[in-house]
């Protein structure tokens, strides 16, 4: 087994683990972490593909390597947005559970401010 294959399997495993966490975790923060594992796995697979493309005196194909950097940045931005959303939800409701049927019924009612887009 070559190192590339080893890391390729690692990436595949990370994807599976992340996906499992994303489906089964109850708390949104855990789902965010699972999403990051999943993304990390996808990037590792991409990194293996880059490594396999080593040529022209380079240790790897620079195109996928550059795209991974872009992907990591986008993933970070997604994490930041999601974490902020979770924290705000926690601030408003005292919990981060977001299943509609778990919210107290009165919060489901659409209030006037919602209709006018929160522009009091």
């Amino acid at each position: 087994m070559t190192a590339e294959q080893l890391y390729g399997l690692c990436g595949a495993g990370l994807v599976g683990l992340g996906l499992f966490g994303l489906i089964t975790a109850e708390l949104p923060l855990r789902r965010i972490v699972a999403f990051n594992l999943l993304g990390g796995g996808a990037f590792v697979v991409f990194g293996v593909i880059a490594r396999r493309g080593a040529a022209a005196g380079l240790g790897g194909d620079p195109v996928p390597q550059a795209l991974i950097i872009t992907g990591v940045v986008v993933g970070f931005a997604a994490t930041a947005l999601a974490v902020t959303l979770v924290r705000r939800l926690h601030e408003e409701t005292g919990t981060t559970k977001f299943d509609q049927d778990e919210l107290p019924p009165e919060t489901v009612k659409l209030s006037d401010a919602t209709l006018s887009g929160g522009n009091p």
Partner: protein, 510 residues
């Protein structure tokens, strides 16, 4: 290669981006003006692209920076891109006009949050949509999809209410899962074919399929499955629709209009790009039938749930879940190996007609629902009595949009469903035809639930919660009229949808 049209494609992509950068760096008072000024310009660019595609009868293509794929990134516009670009600028422009008064910065006061954010996010959605419709590169399209997600999710919770925050979080998690699966698929395709450019991928995949001893391209099918599932989560096709109703019903009306009319269609557009553009003549027949089956389930399930909603905006949102289902009949009907070219083309046109007419009708309907809710101070269907007497134009807009959704002649929705229906019947796939008819009936049912009380008498001693200016009602009406008038479009104009389309019928792997 038509580098000459390239500046148009770049401009379509960059106009909204310029708007975002300007708004961020200038005083907040100019926010709405900047955004609204860009909208006619964007429409003009979209129309120019459509005109060019029409006159050249082929797609436009531009290699950014002069770097040809696979090293560089290509922008491409074919007939369907042009149609989507025009539809997008119309709906975004209408949403801008509709929201102009609502999201105005207060005079002589410190900057307010919601107006600033609304316009920035609306431009963000526009930029993301244009990038999706023009993108020719799978990774560039991934970035475009993320733009769309990052702009759409905050719009859902613009009001900051707890229930909208929960809806936005759920939407974000679905969308992120979708992007991650899409990216994974793109990665595998790069590993197997060494390019991310859709046209080059199509050529390399076709070359592989034509080899004397065809390799079983497992990478291709795994990638296609991952990307399709990821994009379905973003399109909210049943059973991945759970996030849509709370998200679309909680957003401000103008935002709901854009989200329901356009944003969910962007990922559908990409599925079509993959299935027809990347795999010309190789569309997996079983997969196409599966997509149609999910579409059929969406139509029935979404309609029944719409029938059971107590709130108007949720009803409209579930109607979106149902109407998205029709789009997926394109897959078996336009890629049927047994179908004639004419019949496949019929289905193709019908699918895109459904997309455009639903975009206009649903935008109008969400705007109308928002106005009704503003007038009444609530949006409970049980309390809609007599609302037609207060805001008649709005209710007319709602009814016209509803007629298109039901598929009543002579609306655009009617033509769309007729085309799909006749394609299904002529190809002997009558069961899809039955579902379409049933969906029309159910749509009639849930719309009747709204219109019947709305046209009734006003309860005694009722006072409106808000006065609705005429021009906002007019925006909804114009969009609804557009959806209806689409049915009168000359048949010749449908050819636009076919330009640059890869040959799809007659050569499908079973």
């Amino acid at each position: 290669m038509l580098q000459a049209g390239g500046s148009l494609l770049v401009l379509a992509l960059m106009l909204p981006v310029i708007g975002i950068l300007l708004i961020m760096s200038l005083d907040a008072r100019h926010t709405g003006k900047i955004a609204l000024a860009l909208m006619p310009a964007g429409l003009a660019v979209a129309l120019a692209i459509a005109a060019r595609v029409w006159t050249t009868q082929a797609g436009l293509e531009y290699f950014i920076g002069g770097w040809a794929p696979p090293l560089g990134v290509a922008l491409r516009a074919d007939g369907i891109s042009a149609v989507m670009l025009v539809t997008t600028s119309v709906v975004i422009g209408a949403a801008g006009l509709f929201a102009r008064a609502e999201f105005r910065q207060p005079d002589n006061q410190p900057e307010a949050r919601a107006p600033l954010m609304f316009w920035l996010l609306l431009l963000g959605i526009w930029a993301g949509l244009n990038a999706v419709f023009l993108g020719g590169d799978l990774f560039n399209l991934y970035v475009a999809l993320e733009m769309l997600t990052f702009a759409a999710v905050p719009l859902v919770c613009l009001s900051g209410k707890a229930e909208t925050l929960a809806a936005a979080l759920r939407y974000l998690l679905f969308a992120l899962l979708g992007s991650a699966l899409y990216l994974l698929g793109a990665v595998l395709l790069f590993g197997a074919y060494g390019t991310l450019d859709i046209a080059l991928l199509a050529a390399r995949i076709a070359a592989q399929a034509n080899m004397a001893s065809p390799v079983w391209p497992l990478a291709l099918w795994v990638a296609l499955a991952l990307m399709t599932v990821g994009l379905l989560a973003k399109t909210a096709l049943f059973p991945l629709h759970l996030w849509l109703p709370p998200a679309h019903s909680g957003a401000p009306a103008a935002a709901s209009a854009v989200l329901s009319a356009l944003v969910v269609k962007a990922s559908f557009f990409l599925i079509v790009r993959l299935w027809f553009g990347m795999l010309p003549g190789l569309t997996p027949w079983l997969g196409a039938q599966l997509l149609a089956a999910l579409g059929a389930a969406a139509i029935l399930f979404g309609s029944v749930l719409a029938l059971r909603q107590a709130r108007l905006k949720l009803l409209v949102a579930y109607s979106t879940v149902a109407q998205i289902g029709y789009l997926f009949f394109v897959f078996p009907l336009a890629a049927n190996p047994a179908a004639s070219t004419a019949s496949a083309a019929l289905a193709w046109t019908g699918g895109w007609m459904q997309l455009v007419s639903h975009a206009l009708a649903k935008a109008a309907m969400f705007m109308a629902a928002g106005l009704i809710a503003e007038t009444l101070g609530h949006d409970r269907i049980a309390g809609l009595g007599g609302v037609a007497r207060v805001v008649p134009i709005t209710v007319i807009a709602f009814a016209l949009a509803g007629a298109s959704l039901m598929g009543l002649p002579p609306s655009g929705g009617f033509v769309a469903k007729l085309l799909l229906l006749s394609a299904a019947v002529s190809q002997g796939l009558w069961f899809w035809a039955v579902v379409m008819l049933l969906g029309g009936l159910l749509a009639g049912g849930y719309l009747f639930r709204v219109l019947s009380p709305a046209l009734g008498p006003l309860p005694a001693g009722w006072t409106p919660a808000a006065r609705i200016p005429r021009d906002r009602q007019a925006v909804a009406l114009v969009l609804a009229l557009g959806a209806v008038l689409l049915g009168f479009a000359p048949l010749k104009s449908y050819d636009l949808l076919q330009f640059g389309r890869p040959a799809i019928a007659g050569a499908v792997t079973r």
